[in-house]
Each structure stands twice: as structure tokens, then as C-alpha cells.
Subunit: 198 residues, 2 copies
């Protein structure tokens, strides 16, 4: 069970704050992912090793409220992906499918800019633009990863069916089909040479 679950009255209702500017919560403890928590996920492994040794930067954190894992309930919280690059690849979240694949997710961007990179098992993919005041609809069956292509934190509020679950393993094993990188001072979406079909 999430460490935040027992803070809230899931049966009778409650309120919880998430700053409209920073996404930070007044009542929830965040989960932090530093670069060392993402070994093998960035294309340029030498750059990743070097940066990890130098300062092991915080790549992202998320404030999840710990909803009961039932189809009647909703999980929600905020996610903050920090600005930066590993080699020429922009800071990003691990990305995941839902364990119950046929479940959607809604992201509302509160600040920053970047992309929600989505792909389904059949190979359909897109990069949905995130900017303040934009909802990205992640349909059922699509893995999703936030990528910060800007200079400020990319802040989103998320919501999904509370029994959906997280499948991180598929992405950790196969990788994503696409990378979002800086080339010639521009943001480019390129094929991931390391992506594994099976």
C-alpha cells in the first residue's frame, strides 16, 4: 500500500492541495527518481554514467495519493519532470503501461512544456504536446512517458482508474520506439536504435 493511503478518507471524501504553479502537495510525500534509478533507460549510457557519478540529478518526482486499488476509485496526483538532458536526450519519466492495459489516463499540464510520448503494443505511437493548460488524453492500451523539452519543470496533474496498476517492466526491457532529443538546437523525435521488438 502507498505510504500516503492512510492519510485520506477514501470512503467519505477529503481535500488535498497541489500547488497550481509547482505541483507540490501539502499532504503527500513524493516519490523521487534520480538518474541512478533509471539505469539503461537513456540512449547515451556513457553520458548517463558520467552524470550519475557527477551529481546524480533528480529527474522527476510524483505525488501519488494512494487510492484503494479498486475500479470504483480514482488514483490521482501530480508529476514534476525537471529540465535537463542526458547526452542529447531530454529528461523524462520511466514511462509505463497500465497492468490492466484497457485503462486510460488524463494528464493536465500546469506548467512547463514538453511531450507525452505514447505507444501501444501494436506499434502505434505519437508525441502529444504538453503546455500549460493542456489536457493530454492517454487512451487505453498506450504506454506513456513525460518528456521535458523546456527550461522549467514540467508539471502535470494526473488521474486514472485506481485498479489500473503500473507495468514498468515492459518499457525497462524493450525500451520506447522513439527518443526525444536535441539536434542542431532543435527538438527532434527520432527512432530508438536500441528498441527491442520482442
Amino acid at each position: 500500500m502507498n505510504i500516503n493511503t492512510n492519510k485520506f478518507n477514501w470512503k467519505q471524501g477529503f481535500t488535498v492541495g497541489f500547488c497550481l504553479q509547482t505541483g507540490m502537495s501539502d499532504k503527500v510525500i513524493s516519490t523521487k527518481r534520480n538518474l541512478s534509478d533509471m539505469r539503461g533507460m537513456y540512449f547515451d549510457e556513457a553520458a548517463a554514467e558520467k552524470l550519475t557519478a557527477e551529481c546524480n540529478p533528480l529527474i522527476y518526482e510524483f505525488f501519488e495519493t494512494g487510492a484503494p486499488e479498486k475500479d470504483s476509485d480514482l488514483a490521482f496526483g501530480t508529476s514534476i519532470t525537471y529540465p535537463g538532458k542526458v547526452g542529447n536526450e531530454f529528461f523524462m519519466t520511466k514511462g509505463h503501461f497500465h497492468t490492466i492495459l484497457e485503462t486510460a489516463e488524463v494528464y493536465y499540464c500546469l506548467g512547463g512544456c514538453g511531450y507525452m510520448l505514447i505507444e501501444n503494443p501494436e506499434g502505434d505511437w505519437s508525441a502529444q504536446k504538453l503546455a500549460a493548460g493542456t489536457v493530454v488524453y492517454v487512451p487505453p492500451r498506450y504506454a506513456h512517458r513525460s518528456v521535458n523539452t523546456g527550461d522549467t519543470p514540467l508539471v502535470t496533474l494526473f488521474c486514472f482508474r485506481a485498479d489500473a496498476g503500473h507495468d514498468y517492466g515492459t518499457i525497462e526491457t524493450k525500451g520506447y520506439r522513439k527518443l526525444i532529443v536535441e539536434q542542431d538546437a532543435r527538438v527532434k523525435i527520432i527512432d530508438n536504435p536500441k528498441w527491442k521488438k520482442k
Copy 2:
């Protein structure tokens, strides 16, 4: 089907804007509820009749995106309840249960202030405080109504399971157990003398 459904690619993902200040959308047509659409819902019927005849004010509007009504998908959008009173009762939404009673809803307040008034069929109720940057969790089984007790529009982003459905009839017939009114220049929550047990 909602008039906005076909604007969006529910199968492959999409983006849609909702202004962080006003809640207004760039792609969605809102549904508007003027006072004449809420006959019998305010306690002071004489005040309601008079105000309807005078100017029939816009009480609230909501931008709903028209998600496919499936348990794999999520319905989302924004709701804007305007400031004002009918007699001494603050402007509010109709309020509703979900048709599938065992489904929750998440509201994130973008601006304004007021309450989410919630009650379940067994009689448990509460008024959850809405302020900018606050999530209200409406648990499964609870009817919910936004009440604007401030001087500016009360703006929320909402999300719920897309098959949940809306049961407005129960509230229209029975009313809510509680009213939120101004008394002696203060906001008070009082029993609804017109509430019907059956």
C-alpha cells in the same frame, strides 16, 4: 452522444486546452445552465421566480469532452459556477449521483472558492472546501454539487470513469439534505427544510 465526442481521437490520444485561469476550452462547446433550467432547486422559490423573470442569470456551465461511455475510458472537462445568490442561497450546480453509484470523481479547483457538497444515500454528508490548488475527492456513492461562496467564478477540472453516467433525477426529486446560504454576512450550512426522505 455528446456533441464534442467526434472532435477527439479517443482511440489514439489527443490534446485539448482548458485555460488555467478561466477553465474555458479552445475546442469544446459548453453546456450552459441558466436559472430557468433549475426550477424548484433553490429553497426561496419566490426569489428564483423573480430573478428568472428579471435576467435569468447563467448559473454555471461545463465543458465536457464526450468520452466513450466505457469503463476503460475517462470523462473529463471543466465546470464554472458563477458568483451570485438566489435569495440568500449561493449559486450552485444541480448536483447528481452517478448512475453507476460505485464510481468516484476527482475535482481540481483552478480558481474561486466555495464547497463541494456531497451526500450518500445513507445520509452521510460533508461540505469539502474548494480553493485554488485543491483537489476534492468525491468517493463512490456520493452525490456532488459545487457551490460558489465567493465573488469570482468557481473553476474546477473534473475526471471520472466514462461509463459512470449522471443521475440528476434523485436530486431533482428529493433535493439535497443541506443548503449553503449567507446569514448575517457569513457562509452557513443549514438543513434543507424541503428535503424529502423518500
